[in-house]
Symmetry: C2
């Protein structure tokens, strides 16, 4: 099904807003086997709609944006006009918009009425987070979809569209995936040479991010999907930390919670990013009581009892300091597992022996402290981020 996505909005054309809707819609369509052919960003002028609609020959046309109540918002009426479809004002939707206004304590204006305009026989996509409903309709052998621009309003409607398309195209599609840490996209792709060919009926798509990567599997055959998934898991289980909806910090908090354990952290170069990451998880207060950011040598001595001798002999960035930071924190707190991070985030402070990106970790569990040494690349914040992810993964592996 040839597909075009048309984003409407000056704010994308002037660089104020990133077109995240394109990414969300196209990746979700890709997962059910529909690839977006072309994408367009246009200004909210009627002639722009007409020109593009005359130009394209795609069968599925998805608009986002321009469904609001102001005079600039012309997507609904312009597209209905272009396709010449019969239309009506839906009284149920109108009532819904009115009650939405009541709820937020505002008076509804007449201009909002147009948000209840729909082609006959269309599918109305309810908007629970705003006033502009979306719509799916068929006209001139094409499927036309109108979504509102704000991503949080659009995303629930996208799932309705996916269901509609699956139904209409009789797509029976199964989808699963993994999130991996401790490997990169190019290393993975090297290991996957030949793997894709063994699973021709399964679409396998990687999505890389700083320090982690996810693989999404989709297939119309549940057994083919399972085979591919199992083979993938078998091959890469040491990197896999969860499914698509997991986060690494969420998995760590969950394991700690299940084991009824407490974690504590002592951070130097990450400067609180590890603690912040753990506490970004709702419910983390059950597994995290305290964390210390010891940026200076004095703080390492005062809060963690790192010996002056160690700092003088080996330096703050050393496995010996990482060892003492975690080991002493473990002794001083009631935590079941402790982690320490000390390194050179740069851009200054690197030497030939200890370059920017060199980071040491200590992890103490059941009274035993292990240290790890890593050399990360990237800028200051990438090094800090990679260090945080590495530390989270260390904790995860230690607990399993």
């Amino acid at each position: 099904m040839k597909t075009a996505i048309i984003t409407v909005g000056k704010e994308v054309l002037t660089g104020k807003t990133l077109n995240t809707n394109l990414t969300s819609i196209s990746s979700r369509l890709h997962q059910i086997g529909i690839d977006v052919n072309r994408s367009f960003v246009i200004d909210d002028k009627a002639e722009e709609y007409y020109q593009i609609l005359d130009f394209i020959d795609e069968e599925l046309i998805i608009f986002t944006g321009g469904l609001g109540p102001t005079i600039d918002d012309i997507t609904r009426e312009t597209v209905i006009d272009y396709f010449g479809v019969e239309n009506y004002v839906d009284q149920v939707v109108l009532k819904g918009i009115r009650s939405y206004f009541d709820q937020i304590g505002l008076t509804m204006k007449d201009t909002n009425n147009k948000q209840a305009l729909f082609p006959k026989n269309s599918i109305i996509l309810k908007n629970n987070l705003g006033t502009a409903p979306g719509v799916i309709f068929e006209a001139k052998n094409k499927t036309i979809v109108l979504f509102p621009g704000p991503p949080h309003e659009m995303l629930p409607m996208l799932e309705e569209l996916i269901d509609y398309l699956k139904d209409r195209l009789s797509i029976i599609l199964f989808s699963k995936g993994f999130r991996l840490v401790g490997t990169g996209e190019s290393a993975m792709e090297k290991s996957l040479v030949g793997f894709y060919d063994l699973h021709p009926n399964v679409n396998i798509a990687p999505y890389a991010n700083i320090g982690e990567i996810k693989y999404v599997f989709t297939s119309n055959s549940e057994s083919d999907l399972r085979k591919a998934k199992d083979a993938f898991y078998h091959k890469f289980s040491k990197y896999i930390y969860g499914g698509l909806s997991d986060t690494l910090e969420g998995v760590v908090v969950k394991i700690l919670d299940t084991k009824n354990m407490i974690i504590s952290s002592a951070e130097s170069c990450t400067g609180g990013m590890f603690a912040s990451s753990i506490t970004s998880v709702s419910g983390s207060s059950k597994v995290f009581n305290e964390g210390i950011v010891t940026y200076s040598n004095e703080a390492k001595i005062k809060h963690l009892g790192v010996s002056l001798d160690t700092l003088n002999t080996y330096g703050a960035v050393s496995k010996e300091t990482a060892f003492e930071m975690s080991n002493n924190l473990y002794k001083k707190t009631n935590a079941d597992i402790t982690i320490s991070v000390t390194g050179i985030a740069g851009p200054t402070g690197g030497t030939k022996e200890k370059p920017v990106g060199l980071v040491f970790f200590g992890v103490t569990y059941k009274g035993v402290t292990n240290t790890h040494k890593k050399l990360f690349n990237g800028n200051r914040n990438m090094i800090r981020k990679r260090s945080t992810i590495f530390a989270l993964n260390l904790v995860r592996k230690e607990l399993l």
Copy 2:
């Protein structure tokens, strides 16, 4: 100058990559008074290039992507072919690509030769971070620009394009801007009613982000720009924390460094995000020694000496607790200024009296502790982020 941006790449159409190039290029062009008319994303097939180039009538056409050495990368030869311009292989560029390969220890393949293909009389945009150079050339009364896809390779070339356009269009343009905190876009736009009309010769564009907003001023008249800027500053100085290249945490670190002062933090709901934010600034080790994340009541008692009585009577989320957290940290450390944050980040844990988003802050400076109460909206991480920004701004204001 009517402008179109054409992004080439399957990775954008399948949702793997966000089209950040569109945002960077269009916002930069907007700042010199050139608005992007339309934007397209196409697949790397020759007929797609031809179709779009036949369709559009824009005078400035910017391609990004498809300049690499693989057979999929066809932007350079396809666009040169479409415009029918004479071309040649640039030996200097070819030598440069060869030495780039030598540097990274790889052997250059023949397919890389095509990266040195240029239209006659074109402007070559050097690539210091990859092999694919960019190019600007004029053909059929249009200005054609080819940029590589990777943003870090594209961005330096974008500045060359901006200079080229300024020169060619005799744009004399002055640009300045402010970053603001403690106000929002809608409040600002309300205050700015009438302001825009007073400065018709100055383009004033807001760019909002979570917890902060920037305003970019551009004009061809230095004195008009200064007038608008001064009036804006006069009106909003209490919100302005810096210029366009500043960050709030960078400004805070700079003020502390200038005053030769040390800061320390005691965090509950932000869980290390404040400390992480300060230490994200290169050179922050001069102003930050230690920070404590006291997530549990026990940790607040143990590390900060918050009294059990206070916690029992007023609760962990109270101005009394925020007061003691900061006040006691100030007494216990050699910091010149201390800050505390305690609140309910949600989504659970809220009550009618203390709803999700309620956050208390304490700041101690010159021995005096002040507390602040805020109610933030948004999800857990937005509340944490807004709290961090509010805390940074509290410190900034206290020090000034």
